[in-house]
């Protein structure tokens, strides 16, 4: 009896030691930076009492540079599994209190093991990143561990959802793991991501830059597009992770999780009938359109601050998760540029990978002209949108709300890249280009020769608009399946989703396509 008690006491003591991570001093230091410990973060993220830790006794075997003096059970990462809103997930959280959360051989083994478990169990994997980078004392062992992690990230890509939450530094090689995952969430002020730090940059290029400007949450959520979300603090970031998981299936063989409908499927907001100005030069907010159509308060915008001329996000329609792709006419008139193309293409592939139907709202005058765009490879980036839509086999529905000119019409889920249903509002304009541009090209000679070119141009523009500023010509030839009242959009989309609920479309057999990345 006493022997058993001793064994249990020993276990309890070890557990207590494990909970202490890098020790109380390191924990205090962590908290002084406004950050929580790895285990505290896991407790906030997962359903209460659901976390099951594994590999908490693993320790490293290295001795160089006296690293053996800092040997702690569990090493610099906490791994395990638990539940989020009742659904199983696997999780790993880097523990900054142990050697700065540095990526070691053991951390690599632990993370790879939990990722393998997640992949075999078909559950999402969430990484809470807070690490100084590779453990220099371990040399190539640390680098090898990175390689193994990236391999697992790539294997899991498109099979199970992967979410990276950056809650501290994430530098050097570490950044590639979040970059390989589906969603990256960063906290403002406390998280940073960069390949090379400010000191190295100063040495190499003589550029002086602070941490926040180089790789803060605002930088990556607005400029680089590396981060999909920028949260104000850790609590918000973890709440966002839970919210995001509500829209995603556990794996690519499951449908996304539906909830009982909370909104009237027949709700027809008459405000939609007047929301699009008839003057094509006047902007409107596409987010308002989305708000009127989808289940109330269900829209979660992804990449909200990056390329705001395009909108992507997740929402619910009659309780079902759907992916939304749209232009934002209120920003740059909804023109498609390099960043918008990247943003749209990436989101389409996420939706397709996880069986989330895609609903596209089109209002774009076309691709952004300019030397910078052409030299930046707008052709290649724009092609990504076509590729992603053409490859996607999930239900695809598009609604042309106003401008669908030229290339923008083609790439934005047009009929012939296999969109299942293409609808248009009465305000839709489907043409090769805008009226003014088309008249200048078509009637150049005539306008040069006539006595009053401005009056003639106005007449010709009006004539062109009469022909193409209404969707009926496109509908007459079957390029648009139906012209609908804007207010009817919600019930029409629900009815379409009902039809396409079990849609299956096969792709030709191939190893993989060559996406114009």
């Amino acid at each position: 009896m006493a022997e058993h008690d001793a064994l249990i006491t020993e276990l309890a003591e070890k557990r207590e030691q494990i909970k202490q991570g890098g020790g109380s001093k390191q924990i205090e230091r962590q908290r002084s930076k406004g950050k929580r410990t790895a285990r505290e973060r896991i407790e906030i993220l997962l359903d209460a009492g659901s976390f099951q830790e594994i590999d908490s006794y693993m320790t490293h075997r290295h001795t160089d540079f006296d690293v053996d003096e800092q040997r702690r059970p569990g090493d610099s990462v906490v791994t395990g599994f638990g539940k989020v809103n009742g659904r199983s997930v696997c999780i790993y959280a880097q523990d900054f209190t142990i050697l700065g959360g540095s990526f070691s051989e053991i951390q690599g083994q632990k993370v790879s093991k939990i990722m393998k478990l997640a992949l075999e169990s078909g559950v999402p994997v969430i990484g809470l990143n807070d690490s100084v980078g590779a453990r220099i004392q371990e040399g190539v062992y640390s680098l090898a561990a990175y390689g193994d992690l990236f391999w697992h990230n790539a294997q899991a890509s498109g099979v199970i959802p992967q979410i990276s939450v950056i809650l501290g530094p994430c530098a050097g090689g570490s950044v590639y793991s979040p970059a390989l995952t589906d969603f990256v969430i960063m906290t403002q002020g406390t998280s940073h991501m960069f390949i090379t730090g400010p000191e190295v940059i100063k040495t190499v290029t003589r550029e002086e830059v602070d941490l926040e400007t180089l790789g803060g949450a605002d930088t990556h959520s607005r400029i680089s597009g590396v981060a999909h979300f920028a949260a104000a603090n850790e609590e918000e970031a973890l709440a966002l992770t839970r919210q995001l998981l509500n829209y995603l299936p556990s794996n690519n063989a499951e449908p996304p999780p539906s909830i009982p409908p909370t909104d009237d499927p027949w709700r027809m907001d008459n405000a939609l009938n007047q929301i699009v100005p008839t003057d094509p030069g006047i902007a409107y907010d596409m987010c308002q359109v989305i708000g009127h159509i989808f289940d109330r308060d269900s829209f979660l915008e992804v990449h909200q601050n990056y390329a705001p001329n395009a909108i992507v996000g997740l929402a619910r329609l009659h309780g079902q998760p759907v992916g939304i792709v749209a232009q934002q006419p209120a920003v740059l008139a909804g023109v498609i540029d390099i960043n918008a193309a990247d943003k749209i293409a990436r989101f389409i592939r996420i939706g397709d990978a996880y069986n989330i139907p895609l609903i596209t709202f089109v209002d774009s005058p076309g691709f952004l002209p300019g030397l910078a765009q052409e030299h930046g490879g707008i052709i290649r980036h724009g092609a990504k949108i076509v590729y992603a839509y053409a490859e996607a086999t999930v239900p695809k529905i598009s609604i042309v709300t106003r401008k669908a000119y030229g290339g923008a019409y083609i790439v934005m889920s047009s009929k012939y890249i296999r969109t299942d249903l293409t609808l248009a509002w009465p305000t839709a304009e489907i043409a090769v280009m805008g009226a003014e541009g088309a008249v200048n090209i078509l009637h150049r000679k005539r306008l040069q020769d006539c006595e009053d070119p401005e009056a003639e141009r106005a007449r010709l523009v009006a004539e062109y608009r009469e022909k193409f500023s209404k969707p009926y010509a496109a509908a007459a030839s079957g390029h648009i399946d139906d012209v609908i009242l804007p207010a009817e959009t919600r019930p029409r989309l629900i009815a379409a989703l009902e039809l396409l609920r079990d849609k299956q479309a096969a792709l030709p057999s191939k190893k993989h396509g060559i996406m114009p990345v």
């Binding site: 075999e120 498109g158 063989a253 539906s258 499927p265 009817e488 019930p491 609920r501 079990d502 190893k511």
Partner: protein
């Protein structure tokens, strides 16, 4: 050789002439028949029944209101979205099980 060409041209001219003459006769016959058997319809507007413009506007408004009423109430299927609430059907599940060989699926991995 020139004689042969001459004969060929003569035959061509004769053939074409006959064809056009026959077509001309057909057109003439159609014209005459149409004149002979034309249905004469005279629709006289009924006296005192001219609809004032204001009344037409009211009719349009009434039709719009009726359509709106129909859309708002009678045109609504009570079970819109019911299939979605039931979750994916057998068709999807069966096909999901035999996904394209190019695609890695969780099911195929396990």
């Amino acid at each position: 050789m020139p004689e042969l060409i001459k004969q060929g041209l003569q035959i061509s001219a004769l053939g074409m002439g006959l064809t056009f003459a026959a077509l001309g006769l057909l057109i003439l016959a159609m014209f005459l028949l149409e004149r002979l058997f034309r249905v004469r319809e005279t629709v006289e507007p009924p006296e005192g029944e001219a609809t004032p413009v204001a009344d037409q506007g009211e009719i349009v408004a009434a039709i719009a209101a009726a359509l709106h009423h129909f859309q708002e109430n009678n045109g609504r299927s009570p079970n819109l979205g019911a299939n979605l609430e039931q979750g994916r059907g057998a068709w999807w599940r069966a096909n999901a099980a035999r996904q394209s060989p190019t695609r890695t699926s969780h099911r195929r991995q396990t």
